[in-house]
Symmetry: C2
């Protein structure tokens, strides 16, 4: 299953969320990650995120778009990929 | 066609981008919009965004996911919708 994950979390939790999501997904923009996850991995990601965020203040949305075959991506301006994708 | 739009733009352009995208899409998170667009509307949105952003520094990604039938959305934490959706 292919996912797009977007987050809006308090400043104190941004680094934790990014570090965690990077272990599963690719960083494609400031607060956006993308990638393939199995159902088991998706459950792990949700579990991990739920432990990090403050549910009263933060927001993380997961879009399951099924497959990249049924998705088109168009970028205006810069393609901001984090260096860590290439490590 | 159903779109998810995510942006990361310089502070001086955030309000312009938000105001513009709100005329076409729904605000679902800090820097995320969603909604149905015809091909003509999508062309207008891209044209409008291209005029606002600084292509050297800003990034706007449009995901065309076809239809919400083929997309699942799951939110952890707060569902942050902007008040202006309801005006």
């Amino acid at each position: 299953m292919y996912f797009i994950a977007v987050y809006d979390v308090g400043q104190g939790r941004v680094q934790k969320v990014m570090k965690f999501l990077r272990t599963y997904l690719n960083h494609v923009q400031n607060s956006v990650f993308e990638g393939e996850l199995t159902p088991a991995q998706y459950a792990e990601v949700k579990h991990g995120i739920a432990k990090i965020i403050n549910k009263e203040h933060d927001s993380v949305i997961f879009y399951n778009v099924g497959s990249t075959k049924w998705m088109e991506r168009e970028i205006l301006g810069q393609e901001k990929r984090s260096v860590s994708n290439f490590l």
